[in-house]
């Protein structure tokens, strides 16, 4: 198992909280990758592949998310999700 850990930052669009459909889109994107992926926001940490943990972050529009991935294809996963976040809506 590679020991690579990659961290990326991304900001939610001002009018898009990480709720309901955007959260579902984010989790579906994360689930495509084998890496372990965490999202940090508001001082909380969530498994990117768990919709309930992502919703519990309570991340409002304009919030900065830290995406931390480790394991297989970690950098690719972090890059992809960091690119997705500003496009959620």
């Amino acid at each position: 198992m590679p020991s690579s850990e990659t961290e990326r930052r991304a900001i939610l669009p001002d009018e898009v909280p990480l709720h309901a459909r955007p959260a579902g889109d984010f989790v579906r994107a994360a689930a495509q990758f084998p890496a372990e992926i965490c999202v940090l926001a508001n001082g909380k940490r969530a498994n990117a592949k768990s919709i309930l943990e992502i919703l519990a972050l309570g991340a409002l529009g304009g919030t900065e998310l830290v995406i931390a991935a480790s394991g297989d294809r970690a950098a690719e996963a972090a890059d992809h999700l960091a690119g997705l976040v500003p496009q959620l809506g």
Binding site: R21, G24, R28, L52
Partner: protein, 138 residues
């Protein structure tokens, strides 16, 4: 039964004492999980009363039990009994494709729906539903 959007995604069956709860939850899950997950709502008693309708639950299980399987979520009490009774009416090969989630209905259905929409297996969808018992809401 293979109708409309069954493309290899695990389905959900939502059983509640209230038709409005089951139908509304199906709409909410479709919002979060997207249109690919087959969802069958079986809420309310016969003639629009509150309660459960064993015949409707049985039809819902038959409709949902496609080749990829389905996870059943229920509210309380007689919903659980109705599901167990309906499973007793179905052939073994159908029952093998179904899972009963011991989970809060709303949170479990959302978690199950999103996991189903990622192409998760019936046991992965069941695990996601049951994770709702322990994940904090905020």
């Amino acid at each position: 039964m293979d109708r409309e959007s069954r493309n290899g995604f695990v389905g959900l069956v939502l059983v509640s004492h209230s038709a409005a709860i089951a139908d509304g939850l199906a709409e909410l899950v479709a919002q979060v999980a997207g249109p690919s997950v087959p969802i069958v709502a079986a809420g309310g008693g016969p003639e629009g009363t509150f309660g459960t309708d064993g015949g409707r639950v049985l039809d819902a299980l038959r409709e949902a039990a496609g080749p990829t399987g389905a996870v059943i979520l229920m509210d309380l009490g007689s919903s659980v009994l109705s599901v167990r009774a309906a499973l007793g009416e179905l052939p073994e090969e159908t029952v093998e494709r179904l899972r009963i989630a011991d989970a809060p209905l709303v949170e479990g259905a959302i978690a199950a729906g999103v996991t189903a929409s990622t192409g998760g297996s019936v046991d992965e969808v069941l695990a996601a539903a049951q994770e709702a018992r322990t994940v904090a809401k905020f």
